[in-house]
Amino acid sequence: MPDTAMPILDVKGLKTVFRTRGGEVHAVNSVDFDLRPGELLGVVGESGSGKSVTMMSLLRLLPSPPAEMRDGAVMFDGQDLLKISPEELRKVRGSKIGFIFQDPMTSLNPVYTIGFQLAEPLRAHLGLSKAQARTRSIELLQLVGIPDAERRLKDYPHQFSGGMRQRVMIAIALACDPQVLIADEPTTALDVTIQAQIIELVKELRQKLGMAIIWITHDLGVIAGIADRVMVMYAGQVVEEGPVGEIFRDPQHPYTQALLKTVPAVRGPRAERLQVIEGQPPIMYEAPAACSFRNRCQFAFDRCSQENPTLTGISAPGHRAACFLLDKASTPEPEAVDG
């Protein structure tokens, strides 16, 4: 892993707010992260944790209103994506940064052929002629493993199965040879055997093309298999990040620990009762002034409701968590909490 390389994408203090009739909802609260060339960053969190909104904010894909990017900087290719003009941004979207959405049925246009939708970014961004775009489209479909590519260009999305549609989505995202690929729950809508196919495909494409990938998911199993680094989100904040091995072997944040325990295994010993995280994630009507997880956390103490913890480094390089228990551990107290 190129640990020392300059990050290709550097996000600082990102804040996104939705203005709704019921008041403001703070969906993304001061999120910092970076992505290095060729790396696969897994983003884990439950629905509403802000993982998709964070990634859509990067490319300003959220409709405004109701969304509003309050603060932050997204440095990519020497420019701040939150500040550049819409024209410049359009050159980045779908070309240098590709996006794969969760549901391939709703994100492909049902009234255009696959060939048309594949050629669109090629002609717009790379200025290819019709014939060139067609040749490249066929190459792309072959790259993502769609048999009989030339004939299938004439087909419409409904003529493809779910897994094949997701392959088409990947082909479109890869069309302009992006440096960064953002995949938002790309396998969640698929069956396990098809999910296995798509994961193998992404692993293979990564080796072949070498782009950096951000993979959003709630499935820890998927992350374990493909990610180099993991970022855990809760209530619009990053609560823990680190190399994939560290996160699974030695999770530091109580939320990460609980999340790893609630999922039953298909192999190995079987638990009699499932571990439960009581309660449910909060809706953030205010910017967090205290730890958002405190009401569901079994280790919560006074300080957790007074301040909001920030990411602090742990012994392992690159492993950080936002939890006061880490401070507690470093400054031993007489009545030390075990945990």
């Binding site: 897994g163 396990v192 499935d219 992350i223 298999g225 999340l259 295994a265 298909v266 995280i277």
Partner: protein, 345 residues
Amino acid sequence: MADAESANPLVKVRDLKMYFPIHAGLFRTHVGDIKAVDGISFDIMPGETLGLVGESGCGKSTVGRSILRLYDVTGGTVEINGSEIAHVDRDSLRSKRPMMQMIFQDPQASLNPRMTVASIIGEPLDEHMKLSSDERLARIYELMDWVGLNRAFAKRYPHEFSGGQRQRIGIARALALNPKFIVCDEPIAALDVSIQAQVVNLLEELQDRLNLTYLFISHDLSMVRHIADRVAVMYLGRIVEVASREALFAEPLHPYTQALLSAVPEPDPELERHRKPIVLQGDVPSPANPPKGCNFSTRCPKVMDICRRIEPEVRDFGGGRQVACHLYSESMTTTAEPTAGDIKN
């Protein structure tokens, strides 16, 4: 469930078929059938949970719905608690409804948004029981207690609840008439990871307390491994393998079960690095036009000539285990349990 023969099953399904007709052309002529469920048989013992797994489109939900006669089945018999369900008339079916209930996948869509929690849970009581309004309210509160809903929320509407709580309302409604048998159709698929465990634990608690029998339909193999006593694996309208939970997860016999289990990623990076999943090629064929011979023959990594010609018969391996695959048809007696060596060959 080793003593499957000695006890009487609560649910007995024999050669169940559910075909949906395809009509085409100007006169909507009947041109074919979608064979969603094509001749399946199984038993469920009292107090047992049978897991029914398979990929989308394999017919697992249709099985659940046909058993409860939400569809008029094409063929076969269904017996629940000693009464025939598949071919009785509407009135006698209605009198049997209380003992068999269903919990649906999407709690948002299966609860009427214009009804309060109390009226949703109370509706089956109004339909099937003669209760005074005090008795009715007492029963509603009791049900809400059982599923962990605050009684103070009885006058609220479904949209005021989170997904997990809505599923609890659906569970309370299913329990209202003291059912014996509940079909849980993907009850946790729409819920978040941290909420899924809450609902699964609740279902298990209720099963212990009320001696319920579940058919637990799911595509989530790890959850099925947690909750089910026995597991049936479906592929394209047929059951390919039935076995006890331990046997199925420790040593799947059917190549489809093997591929399905191996496709589930492991939440452990060390193991995951070295794991070689069996990646099946292609997609599930259309149930309107299933392949000749074995339904799985188009994707099976161990396919033989015979598989493309002759449909494999279900073979009993003892201990409640049944497999429908030609790999095990020859050179093996019906009683002997196959050893690991045999499977590799």
